[in-house]
Amino acid sequence: MASLSLLPFSFVLFLLAASPVISTNSEGEALHALRTKLSDPTNVLQSWDPTLVNPCTWFHVTCDDRNRVIRLDLGNSNISGPLGPELGRLQHLQYLELYRNNFEGKIPEELGNLKNLISMDLYGNHLQGQIPKSFGKLKSLRFLRLNNNKLKGSIPRELASLSNLKVIDLSNNDLCGTIPIDGPFSTFPPQSFENNSRLNGPELQGLVPYDFGC
């Protein structure tokens, strides 16, 4: 019986022992996997050495006091290539600042897994495809700037459920359909949506289909 009663205790011990190792290394691996597909002409990713125990001394990466990645600051760095789905593994990421680069391809659905994300700045790239519906899961998100890309499709209605969203900028894309009007969308200025030639104004619930004109 004594050994049985120790079971939960040892299980907790196991969790304590196992968890930090898993979290820190996997984040470094995720970032390294992202890097391998990128072109970095100005060597801003030079210090990203995957053999280190964690990525906290890599430049442009910031960790919290438990060595978990909370910021990625790569704005205006001349980087090109795809946004890897690996980014979705940075579970504790709060700031994803990749603005004004040459990122291309689709925005991976996996970014919707970044539950702690406060700010996502992907503006000024060459991103294509749709805004992932999975962004509806980014419950901590306060700033979402995807302007000046080549995004298509409609604005996912799921974004209307992001109650913390304070700033959105989707201007200068190729979005279509109508704009949600409820939740945080009731406060966004029209400038946030301008220069999307197929975007047909506010949503007219019940009369016109939401993705009308797409």
Partner: protein, 821 residues
């Protein structure tokens, strides 16, 4: 030397012995008078310096010449034909300028037995060589090492060379698998293909080798696959070097039957499995064994007595422990012993030091070896390097062997004072960090300083002042000699001790010093002006947490290579002179990584407080960080606007001083900056909006100043939404603080939070409502009037259809019109 029979000069040896003499220059050309020696059959001119001149044509006239050695003679081009030549050595003669060397190769006399052309800068594909078409059937040795030969080894290359015993092609750019015809070279004993890009399966390669091969050098290639079990039949093998390939699987136990094997190197592959005693059963001649950097486990019995007497053994990263391997006790000839990271958790046995008394290189680092070090290691009279770092060794620092050059005892439990005399005079690296060493640094250190390149005493309990080497009481060093003291030092690491006194004067002689860390000690007094002039190679200057006082000498800015200046937490006063913040290395965006520092192991590290954290940068990563930290002093005056020129700086910390004035607008010049801390000063004025251009900034602290006005919220600054970084500035307003700005300026976020946003939403709401009401007025009536519905059902249905079609058409047209716009 003359022939006994004829009296003719037959042998002329003009070789320069490079051990005794500098290569002397045969200043004039070789005199044609040499031709008088018509019976010469042996001519050795190696290591002469002919100033890169052409090999004189007349040398083709020695009809009887059989042996010609021109290796390392500074000649410039190719050689005419010599019909009787048997032995030709042109190694390290630069033939790259000789355009006709391929043709000359095809005209080599058929008498040739030995051809050495290593390091001749020959550049061609191996297939283009005329060797196979020539009649070099008697060639015994072909040496083409260290050239730029490319491509695969062609099938036909070696077709006729059936006499070949030695084939040396190492150090080229050869690719692919060796040809099947290699098997026909029945006499081949030595094959050297090391340092190429030979690829493919190792078993397939070995199958293509002639049966009687004795020496096989294949290190540093791209071979994969597993060693075949039939390797046990290659009983002629005496040397097998397969290090640095990608071999997988386990080592076949039949290796133990290779009775002639004396040299076995399988290091740095991906081999797995357990090594047992029968792997060595018949290896009585084994002298060199390197299995390091694999995933192997030694599973031999504790009482095993090996059949061999090794001279060199490297089993680093093999699992040897937990007990210290007792079989080492029988290996009394060892000169090289590597057992780093071998999972040994044991006491160092008493017999150990006696057994390794002939050792030159010893590495037992990264284990958990305990025990007490002997009082002296002087009996290791041949020792060059002793590396025992990261263990649990106790005792005092032993007296050291006379010729020792490298000692690393870092990360152990060495205690007590440093010995008065270390015993060695040639020591280059003395690495004792992270121990429990106490007491003062003895003045005998000055003797060591002649040879020392790196001195790491960090994280110990040393106290007192450093010796003033050139003014010591016994006057053994005259004052004029101070230039020599420490003139080889590149690294001084005294971090975290209790050392006191003024900035040590003997550093004045350390002109090549590039790393100086005196952080966390009790040093006092001024920072001497001569730091900027006498230590011109400094890259890292870390003086944090001492009690240095006075001004920061302006001449520090002369340190062109300085990447880190950490003067934080001292008692420094005065202003930050505009000419101070002018460090050339910090102005470069991509640092010209100054790789002169030979950081000695992976634990070599420095700490930088940045982003509000203490970050440790290890080994080569130290070259990436550029940091200027003057925090925690009593600096006054303004932040010079010249600081903006430091475009490569990653970390700037001026916090906790008494700085006044504005934050300079020029700060946007700090393009690489990741962390900016100006908190706890007396700065005033607005926060310059230029800060928002710092796209890499991830940590900002401006708290506790007298800053005022609206906080800029564009660009990167918008990502700092933590109000505490602005706290303690009562006149700052706007987000992320809760205080509203009363001014007329409006920003986007104001639009969001105030009336305009509300109006917009009510407009949307009424629009939606209007449409809904209109819709239900028409369709609701139809729905609820039963008589209308039954009587005019078809009609209504038709109308509905018409309305729907009409609307769709309208909307499509509308849509098309919008598109046109």
């Amino acid at each position: 030397m003359c022939s006994n029979k004829t009296g003719h000069v037959v042998k002329l040896d003009l070789r320069v012995d490079h051990d005794r003499l500098l290569p002397f220059s045969m200043s004039s050309d070789i005199s044609p008078s040499l031709l008088a020696l018509e019976h010469l059959n042996y001519l050795d001119l190696s290591y002469n310096d002919f100033g890169g001149r052409q090999i004189p044509k007349f040398m083709g006239s020695f009809k009887n010449l059989k042996y010609l050695n021109l290796s390392n003679a500074n000649f410039g081009a190719w050689l005419p034909r010599l019909s009787s030549l048997k032995h030709l050595d042109m190694s390290y003669v630069n033939l790259s300028a000789a355009v006709d060397w391929v043709q000359a190769l095809s005209m080599l006399p058929t008498s040739l037995r030995v051809l050495h052309l290593s390091g001749c800068s020959l550049n061609a594909t191996l297939a283009s060589l005329p060797l196979y078409s020539s009649n070099l059937t008697t060639l015994v040795t072909l040496d083409l090492e260290y050239n730029d030969f490319q491509g695969p080894i062609p099938n036909g290359l070696l077709g006729n060379m059936t006499s070949l015993k030695e084939l040396q092609l190492g150090g080229n750019d050869l690719v692919g698998m060796i040809p099947k015809t290699m098997k026909n070279l029945h006499k081949l004993k030595v094959l050297d293909l090391g340092w190429n890009q030979i690829s493919g399966d190792i078993a397939e390669l070995m199958e293509r080798l002639p049966h009687k091969i004795q020496s096989l050098y294949l290190m540093v290639n791209n071979l994969n696959g597993s060693l075949p079990t039939w390797i046990e039949n290659m009983t002629s093998l005496s040397t097998l070097d397969l290090g640095y390939n990608s071999l997988t699987g386990s080592i076949p136990s039949g290796m133990g039957k290779l009775t002639n094997l004396s040299y076995l190197d399988l290091s740095s592959n991906q081999l797995i499995g357990m090594i047992l005693e029968d792997y060595f059963t018949s290896l009585t001649r084994l002298e060199m064994l390197d299995l390091s950097n694999n995933s192997l486990t030694m599973g031999v019995h504790p009482n095993w007595i090996p059949p061999f007497r090794l001279k060199e053994v490297d089993l680093s990263y093999c699992k040897m422990g937990p007990h210290f391997p007792t079989w080492i006790q029988s290996q009394t000839n060892i000169t090289f012993l590597g057992m780093s990271s071998a999972v040994i958790i044991d006491r160092l046995p008493d017999w150990f030091w006696n057994v390794i008394s002939q050792v030159e290189y010893l590495d037992l680092s990264l284990n958990q070896i305990s025990g007490v070090l002997p009082m002296t290691l002087e009996f290791l009279s041949t020792a060059d390097s002793i590396i025992l770092h990261s263990n649990q060794l106790k005792g005092r620092l032993p007296k050291l062997p006379m010729g020792l050059r490298y000692l690393d005892l870092s990360r152990n439990y060495i205690s007590g004072p440093l010995p008065l005399y270390l015993g060695t005079i040639e020591l280059k690296y003395l690495l004792l960090s992270n121990n429990l060493i106490s007491g003062t640094i003895p003045s005998s250190l000055c003797d060591q300083l002649q040879s020392l390149e790196a001195l790491d005493l960090s994280n110990n309990h040393l106290s007192g002042q450093l010796p003033e080497c050139w003014t010591s009481g016994n006057s053994f060093r005259a004052k004029s000699d101070w230039r020599d003291v420490g003139s080889n030092l590149t690294i001084i690491h005294f971090r975290n001790n209790r050392l006191s006194g003024k900035f040590p004067l003997f550093f004045r002689g350390c002109q090549y010093l590039s790393f100086l860390d005196l952080s966390y000690n009790n040093f006092t007094g001024n920072l001497p002006i001569w730091i900027g002039t006498r230590l011109p190679n400094l890259v890292f200057l870390l003086l944090k947490s001492n009690m240095f006082s006075g001004h920061i000498p302006i001449k520090l800015s002369k340190l062109d290579h300085l990447q880190i200046l950490d003067l934080a937490h001292n008692n420094l006063s005065g202003t930050i002179a505009p000419s101070l913040v002018n460090f050339k290395a910090m102005t470069l965006i991509s640092p010209s990584i100054f790789n002169d520092i030979d950081y000695y192991n992976d634990f070599f590290s420095l700490f930088v407080i940045t982003k509000g954290q203490i970050l440790e940068y290890q080994s080569d990563k130290i070259f990436f960080i550029l940091s200027l930290d003057l925090s925690g002093n009593s600096l006054t005056g303004e932040i010079p606007k010249q600081v903006g020129a430091l475009a490569g700086l990653k970390n700037l910390n001026l916090s906790a001083n008494r700085l006044t004035g504005n934050i300079p607008e020029t700060m946007n010049g700090l393009r690489s900056l990741e962390s900016l801390d100006l908190s706890n000063n007396e700065l005033f004025g607005e926060i310059p909006s230029t800060l928002s251009a710092l796209t890499f900034l991830s940590h900002l602290n401006l708290s506790y100043n007298n800053l005022s006005g609206r906080i800029p919220t564009e660009g990167q600054l918008e990502t700092f939404d933590d109000p505490t970084i602005y706290i303690g500035n009562s006149n700052l307003c706007g987000p992320p603080t809760s205080k509203n700005c009363s001014g007329n300026q409006t920003t986007m976020s104001d639009l969001l939070e105030h009336e305009d946003g509300y109006n917009m939403s009510s407009l949307y709401f009424s629009m939606g409502l209007g449409f809904a009401v209109g819709f239900w007025v028409i369709f609701g009536t139809l729905l609820f009037k039963r008589t209308w519905r039954t009587t005019y059902f078809l009609l209504v249905d038709d109308i509905c259809d018409r309305i729907y079609v009409f609307m769709v058409l309208k909307l499509v047209r509308l849509n098309a019109r919008i598109k046109k716009k």
